[in-house]
């Protein structure tokens, strides 16, 4: 089986499997984000559970980080191989005649998402790691109250950051518009690729839109 994953087909399948995992993760992330719009208390409770549960912290989180890093690193490796496979470019190439912009620019939408993840880690993940693992504070409290919802609100005060989030999610939508059905094709499920065309498009629009709405909601509703 290790020989399979070294082949071009195997690498393609591994990209698809990590993509499936990340697409499921996105749904879970959006569900929790949406809770912040419905109820601050609910969001605090769920955030505290996710932030302190050993299974989430020490099993699921490392798997998630591996999935993200793997998808990006493998994406870059494959892109480099693809560049080497055509060292001389065409003087004239009409890519739009036979393929979508999204499918031809997965690497660039991916780079935009990577840039966003760096910002996202600086905003949320690094402070969490600092609080929990360096300062050793697993209480989730600040001044006697859960800190999660308030921290979330503060992150969406700056309009430049909210704009960056929104732009990043547009790129995520473009990435998913090709990636969703492409992943099914890669694992050999060609019939599902065709059947799920509309589902894929809906996922690519609604999931990023959900994240954008949550960000805009907190930006507009925060009482200075």
């Amino acid at each position: 089986m290790s020989g399979f994953f070294k082949s071009s087909v195997g690498r393609k399948v591994s990209m698809a499997l990590s993509a499936f995992f990340l697409m499921i993760f996105l749904l879970q992330h959006l569900t929790i984000n949406t809770m912040s719009v419905i109820s601050a208390d609910l969001f605090n409770e769920v955030s505290h559970f996710m932030g302190t549960n050993p299974l989430v912290q020490f099993v699921l989180q490392p798997i998630l980080i591996f999935g993200v890093v793997f998808h990006f690193v493998m994406g870059f490796i494959l892109e480099l191989q693809n560049k080497r496979a055509r060292k001389v470019s065409y003087a004239k190439n009409n890519g739009a005649a036979n393929s979508s912009w999204m499918s031809r620019n997965m690497i660039w939408s991916g780079v935009a998402i990577l840039a966003f993840i760096v910002l996202h880690f600086i905003d949320f993940w690094f402070p969490e790691i600092n609080t929990k693992f360096i300062q050793g504070d697993w209480s989730g409290l600040h001044d006697g109250k859960f800190r999660y919802f308030h921290e979330l609100q503060l992150k969406f005060v700056n309009p430049a950051r909210v704009a960056a989030y929104c732009v990043a999610f547009v790129f995520l939508g473009l990435h998913l518009a090709h990636g969703f059905t492409s992943a099914f094709q890669s694992v050999g499920a060609a019939s599902l690729r065709k059947k799920l065309n509309k589902v894929g498009l809906a996922y690519a629009i609604l999931v990023p839109l959900g994240f954008i709405i949550v960000a805009l909601f907190h930006h507009l509703s925060y009482n200075h």
Partner: protein, 246 residues
């Protein structure tokens, strides 16, 4: 029709090539693209210049020899045709047409518009066949019942003429449509089952060895393929390799 042609000229595999402009006049819209190239070459020969080298053989869309990247598309702007089947009526009087060879590291330019596609031959040699005992007692292939759907899909895959348009048009120079078609045409038939696992492993390994890129499912190959080979064949190849690897 009067046309301006921008054509890639390259003396040999080791020379540096460049785009060169040519004018052709009185081109009939009923001519095929290759006949237009013949007119150009007659002009060049009469002027004592080196004619443009390009691949061609049957000129009936069957042999897979003709190539050419025309105005940014493999086999030009028409669909379901090879360059020899492309007619000048697809262009307008006064047009400038850019003509380049297939571009892929695995398809090095030999001269002008001629590229070396022997990488495809080596992939075929690796496993694109069935071993048949030709002792004189060979069973008639038609004696084995085959479901109509499987026979049709196998035939569709077998219509691949190995022209390389899929590689040329793929932004990654991937050969997966070609290999997918060759794997599928046997995988769908009972005669292909005996060597199926070995076949797909060897053909994919050879494809990777030749330096083709990775498929990212843009679907460009399927659109530009003169024989309309479906992406389903790539998915089937992926399934076959997964099956062969577990």
């Amino acid at each position: 029709m009067n046309l301006t042609l921008k054509i890639w000229r390259q003396k040999d595999a080791n020379s540096k090539g460049q785009m060169v402009d040519y004018k052709v006049t009185d081109i009939s819209e009923h001519m095929s693209f290759l006949e237009m190239m013949d007119v150009l070459n007659e002009q060049l020969i009469s002027k004592g210049e080196e004619p443009v080298s390009f691949d061609h053989d049957c000129r009936e869309g069957i042999c897979g020899m003709c190539s050419m990247y025309i105005n940014g598309e493999a086999h030009g702007p028409d669909r379901g045709v090879t360059t020899c089947q492309l007619h000048m009526r697809m262009f307008n009087d006064g047009d400038t047409i850019t003509i380049e060879p297939w571009r892929a590291t695995a398809f090095p330019v030999i001269k002008d518009l001629v590229v070396d596609r022997s990488a495809f031959d080596r992939i075929q040699h690796a496993g694109g066949y069935i071993s048949v005992n030709t002792s004189g007692n060979t069973q008639d292939a038609n004696a084995i019942p085959i479901a109509k759907e499987a026979a049709d899909k196998a035939m569709d895959a077998a219509t691949c003429i190995g022209c390389g348009a899929c590689v040329a048009t793929c932004k990654n120079s991937s050969a997966m449509l070609f290999v997918g078609a060759k794997v599928s045409q046997y995988a769908l038939l009972p005669q292909g089952q005996v060597e199926a696992a070995d076949r797909v492993r060897k053909m994919v390994a050879q494809m990777d060895l030749e330096g083709f890129g990775n498929c990212t499912n843009t679907g460009a190959c399927e659109i530009e393929c003169p024989k309309g080979i479906s992406l389903d064949n790539i998915a089937r190849m992926n399934r076959e390799l997964m099956k062969a690897s577990v």
